[in-house]
Symmetry: C2
Subunit: 771 residues, 2 copies
Amino acid sequence: MGVYSNFKRVDATGKVTGEAKYTDDLLPERCLVAKVVHSTISNGLVKKIHTEKAAALPGVVKIVTCFDVPDIQFPTPGHPWSVEESHQDVSDRKLLNQRVRFYGDDIAAIVAEDEVSAARAAALLEVEYEEYEPILSPAAAMAPGASVIHQEYPGNVLKKTGFKLGDCTYAEALKEEGLVRLRKNYEVPRVQHCHIEVPVSFAYIDVNQKITIVSSTQIPHIVRRVVGQALGIGWGQIRVIKPYIGGGFGNKQDVLYEPLNAFLTQQVGGRPVKLELSREETLACTRMRHRMLFSVDAAVRSDGTLVARKAEILSDQGGYASHGHAIVANAANEFKQLYHDEKALEIDCATVYTNLGVGGAMRGYGIPQGDFGLEAMIDDLAACIDMDPYEFRLKNCVKEGYEDPHNHIKFHSYGLEKCMEEGKAFIHWDERRAEYAQQTGPIRRGVGMAIFCYKTGVHPISLETAACRMILNQDGSVQVQLGATEIGQGADTVFTQMAAEVLGITEDKIYVISTQDTDVTPFDTGAYASRQSYVSGKALVKTGKVLVKRILDYAGEVLARPAESLALVKNQIVDKDSGKVLRSLAEVATEAFYSLQHSVHITAEETSHCKDNTFASGACFVEVEVDIPLGQVKVLKIVNVHDSGKLLNPQLAQAQVHGGMSMGLGYALSEELLYDEKGKPLNDNLLDYKLPTAMDTPDLHVIFVEEEDESGPFGNKALGEPPAIPVAPAIRNAVLHATGVAVDSLPLAPQKLVRAFTEAGLISKGGEGHV
Amino acid sequence: MGVYSNFKRVDATGKVTGEAKYTDDLLPERCLVAKVVHSTISNGLVKKIHTEKAAALPGVVKIVTCFDVPDIQFPTPGHPWSVEESHQDVSDRKLLNQRVRFYGDDIAAIVAEDEVSAARAAALLEVEYEEYEPILSPAAAMAPGASVIHQEYPGNVLKKTGFKLGDCTYAEALKEEGLVRLRKNYEVPRVQHCHIEVPVSFAYIDVNQKITIVSSTQIPHIVRRVVGQALGIGWGQIRVIKPYIGGGFGNKQDVLYEPLNAFLTQQVGGRPVKLELSREETLACTRMRHRMLFSVDAAVRSDGTLVARKAEILSDQGGYASHGHAIVANAANEFKQLYHDEKALEIDCATVYTNLGVGGAMRGYGIPQGDFGLEAMIDDLAACIDMDPYEFRLKNCVKEGYEDPHNHIKFHSYGLEKCMEEGKAFIHWDERRAEYAQQTGPIRRGVGMAIFCYKTGVHPISLETAACRMILNQDGSVQVQLGATEIGQGADTVFTQMAAEVLGITEDKIYVISTQDTDVTPFDTGAYASRQSYVSGKALVKTGKVLVKRILDYAGEVLARPAESLALVKNQIVDKDSGKVLRSLAEVATEAFYSLQHSVHITAEETSHCKDNTFASGACFVEVEVDIPLGQVKVLKIVNVHDSGKLLNPQLAQAQVHGGMSMGLGYALSEELLYDEKGKPLNDNLLDYKLPTAMDTPDLHVIFVEEEDESGPFGNKALGEPPAIPVAPAIRNAVLHATGVAVDSLPLAPQKLVRAFTEAGLISKGGEGHV
């Protein structure tokens, strides 16, 4: 079908019929069940855990507490790893923690014969705490006298970074006459990934004494490394298997419970132990998108020239470092990369420990937050000078040829302005901006937009490496083994298309091995950073070329012709020049296996160390209708326009965008993890945590601007995360357009909007009516 | 510990604790159960099968009969395969057979929700047959007017071959004056392997539409090919997984029920279906060691010179070809290779279809049969000229430097005579031969011996190819992936030792992947022909050298030194000359994974096409006590002496010999599959089929003569099958020595011995007493 085609998902049927096996489908017989016991305070110290009653319960096999685990702190983020200590991730937690840093911290675990016994035992543990004042904001954390959450970080600041660009300081830039200045604060909340499948793994010690962990993870090879670190054993003594998984969105790019699971099987003599989180634990105790606070200060000329900006960004890390400062640093980069100031840009950002849920990787990795702060500010700036925000963006946004001055990432292909044009036309921007300019009454409409750019993979900030192996079968079909993981996004399908293209073998004869098994699967860091079709795709292409060469070399032997005169086209060995079919690949492959003269099992395996990167970009345009008295925003029309290079599979690409837009809608309108004054989660369940449903979702429109990207293996670049980025600021800006009210924090929930509209005088203070 | 050491079995603990998973341990949930329905006649045609009653039974999912299967005949033997049609195996059966060729032939199959429903349904099928006269011997099969068992073979002869050696014909050689001539018939019975685990597999259609079969097989890559042939689909559409298996001995070198299992999952929409044989089915319906009939004619000079031999060997194939004629051809070769005639050797052999159980591969592959016929004859010849059979053997047996004139297999190392010396000394041959020469009374003792030679693998008769892959981990440990299979013989352990030796990495850091998975495991034909430590070992060595080179190349980069100046010794990169440790392998490996300059996942994969072979040899010496009135033989002392090159693991080698000797004891004394006059099995269960137990087994002694074999990867050669070969003829010859009675067929069961002793006049005809 070709590499650019709507080839049907290779796992479509298997996922519908149930043949696709997920971790929980693969449990061995008589698997023990583990239950994690979480702290019921958010800041303090476990002084003692009374286990007697729990231990006496029938069915309880083992109880381990924070006093029993190895004295090893380990990192959890799914980064490639670095041999240089200064580039390694923060190691700030143990398997179970005596020092409790958030409500729900892991302090003990029960292993039992069954779920019920484990849960009952967990409830019978009696914990004595020494409790400290909960720290519930970065400000409180940085205040003098605040308790120290991690002793290695006495001021509770995990990291501070900043940069300055331009010819002068921000203060100097402000001296220009006639500048219009904006000073505002923006804020984005903690939200959760809400993947369908909760984190689940099971572990056992195999015949070869390896601790074997089957886990719903995005990053099997990284899980292996982190488990080794956490247990203090050689990484080769661990084997990680990743079956089909029900979504991850970055939450499964953190190695959170696999190390504990591995430890628990060690504690029960290697018997299999399952560790599955409940939905409530998933919401409260796993990773979340960081809450961030943006203090911005910006100056423009009345002609729309962006002269200078200064921003301070505080990232509320919660109790543990996880991906930590990398995420706010990414948010800060969006300020630098997406718009350019004539005179000065100053950014400072800090990541601060608090006693709340832990921030980690989530689709967009800081950019959804940064893009909200930035794109809200851009609309507010345009409003200050009464300029159309589209025109204001066009004037100041990143242009073709841009290269980041620090990490030197470039647009190898540039489609941002085209995306803006397409979106503008789709939403009838000019007509609607005019039409909705002077509305009155309770129901008002508006249009808004936001743009973004996003890099592809992590080079050169971090390592980009990927390996691939291909195995030729007797019938001319091929297995493709990749460390890159299918996590629902369609990786196996596009890899099938790529392999067919590079090999000259039809897709029906390509078998991408979906399960990763670190013992035999080539190394790859996994599914994150929208990297796989770009980075792992290069490894596939490199390996495919080697395989084809080996096949043609063998065919040359069989046909007594120079291999250089041959090509592999549609499962046939052909004369390169004439295209004449000389022999089927199946015949040559069978000969290679069984030849009495020269038998060889033709395979190929290569690593591709990727030293490229490229920016993807795009825009969201949205039309909303705001019910002012109800504080309700209805999305009438929404489109995402993406510059993601050539599309490998337009249908899958569209599905990817649909999913991202849906996440953006929740981020914009309803989602937020809430805590009480003690730091206890208030809505750690899917009834109270307001994830949009199909009923809440309007028709989602997608437009692609396909610019061939020379740096991608097939002209492609990032698409996995981008769709989630621009939706929330576009909706915020549309509400601004509809109502004139700038709401500066997410989500745009009814309570908040009613309050804002009331303050703005659109609703009378008594709540009786509206203006 | 070194490659020649008693390194502990790598699976010892896992097999004791139960962590080692066998096929039945791995069944997926809600796996359907298949039951094969077997014919209750031995020769005929299925005219109709009434399925209505069975189909109406609750729990029955699908019934397929011989009228429903594809019209494809396929071969079952575990041979490598050949692209030349003339060298391909005989395809003479379908998935289910309408033409019934033995009692127990497969005529239908039931798939049900559970075992009980399947068995009940099987019992409810009503079968109408057209019955023919059963053919129960080769003679009957070849008689004029016999019904034709396979239409492709009108005379019921599967194949006839023969050869002549020497300067004249046998008839001409006989013209010499003064020759002593012997004309006799010998016979060996059908016996069964009696592996602990019965044949079991389960199959399902996976997400990628591959038919996936988990099977207790010795030959996963061959199973894949045969299933493809049987179903008429591309071999790459099949995936075979081999977990731990509970023995095979050649029975699992036949692809008997995996194709049907694959077909059955196709018939139920890809749902998993398990097909496990009962012990009774295993005994009656799987493969057995061929019954063979030897007609020999031989002439010696009175000085002990073997002048000429002529032998006709008939192999009773049973209903299907399976490994067929290759086995009797091997038996014939033993006549040629083990002794050399001064003037002439003429051998003719034929494989004949009958309506009995099907002969196939069983430990020794024809040589146990041939060695019995040959070594009984040798003792009888020695007796004719009143010569010590040891001296007679020494005078005429194969000598150092021998090369087979047809296939050119040689002794690259030769230890046969040393084996004979060692065995002779151990059993106190000369003393006992003299001591027991003139016995009377009911209890008499004797000593006997037998020798053998055995090739290593199948080159050049057939293809010998093997591939291996090695994968380096961050901690400097390595996975070794081989298509060669662990079937209980200790393959994983000796491969671990070999890998440690060739890599310079300690055994604790070598992980041989025990499970083969044809999708990702390098190609290898599997466990048979005592080939793996020789043939697959070469692939391991070849691959290991490539891996070491890649490691040292990388270490050279890291250390900025020429790779040629480095070596890998005990997990350390050292200076080749001084031995000074420069860096640990773990550090270099970690650097290779995570280097920002040059990241590479170091692996290696190579095929070794083996074009070597070498003879192993050995002897068995035994002392027996015969209770003449009871016809009972008690083995007082027994030793096997083996010339199998250098031993990789003496303890495992000894265990291998123990197992083979135990099989030899059963073959000698008690085992035989019996049939009634209609061809119905009489003793297809372990109560009536007399397998020796631990209680029946004397102390087993083993001596090794370790001659380094230059052609083996570590000086090693065949040891898997040889131990089973010489025991039965040695015991037969010891009984001859004890009683003067030459019993010319196996087993030496009490009934037969009493009859023979009575005929010989040792027991009075009335059975009242003895002479």
